[in-house]
Subunit: 186 residues, 2 copies
Amino acid sequence: MTRQWEEFKSRALSKLSYAREHNLADEKIFYLLDYINSKEGYVTTSSCSGRILLLAKGPSKKETYMYKKWHDKATTNSVVDAINSYDGPYPLYYKVDPFILHIVAKTPEHAHVILRICKNAGLKRFGMQLMRNFYLIEIQGTDKLEFPIALCNCNMDEVVGLSNSLLERTWSRTKLFYLSAQETLK
Amino acid sequence: MTRQWEEFKSRALSKLSYAREHNLADEKIFYLLDYINSKEGYVTTSSCSGRILLLAKGPSKKETYMYKKWHDKATTNSVVDAINSYDGPYPLYYKVDPFILHIVAKTPEHAHVILRICKNAGLKRFGMQLMRNFYLIEIQGTDKLEFPIALCNCNMDEVVGLSNSLLERTWSRTKLFYLSAQETLK
């Protein structure tokens, strides 16, 4: 099982390196990924530090696509311009997605340590799932918005201001998780 | 541990009975709770079948309160009337919450069975957490909305129509989980 684990971890780290080299990864969360990946028995497989998103929501998942996203705070103008210049076939949804992190653990014991770290950090949305050989922990923030902006006329200064403050909150919660991990994993 | 488990399960079932007698529980999900609770090694501790919600969102969780909720499909009039007659101190948020279910399992093996049931049912949001002695599985739908309706003028016929169809979707997903559980737990 150890050999299988080493191979799994090494493949996951290669994918992450590739994503970093090609600017496909979200650098705001690298400090946390690097910390977790430096520990024996853990590897991160996907993550997002939080984002503002305009989603073209089709009748099925296959037809749904990201029209525009911001991984950092947005300005009202950039969001309003994007909404006004949208001419896709599906209704536009406005979303704020909180941070999300997937960690794979080698053993149930390794997984349980992460669950305790989440609890100590005061997180609400996290949990372990089973993989074929390993244990997947999904960790997620709760600072979010999601609504069909195509059906609404909003005060966009306020909506974007609120969204930016939700991003700040999700970044602090990510930091809390990091500090809690540092305390426990040493 | 078995005695401790029996006591824990019996306390949880008493709470549920109390909630049912006093109409504090959400009857649309009773079929599922009763099924899970009939199985050895499992007990449900909280649940919601899905709802439409108007939330008065204060500066902290303590000051936030539910202004109005619908556990069944809503009419545009009832929602619009509620919004128009709100005069609380905090901005009003409009939410559709998907179904949520908490199951406590006696052993890790019991918990892993539920995780497999969730996966087989095609659910996305679920996971195991640790309790002092037992294992908590949180299961949640993904059909949701959440936004500050105080900042928006929406086409409420469409928003309520969409919300009602999200409720229908979350009810079907609950049913899928139930069917998957029946196949596995027998």
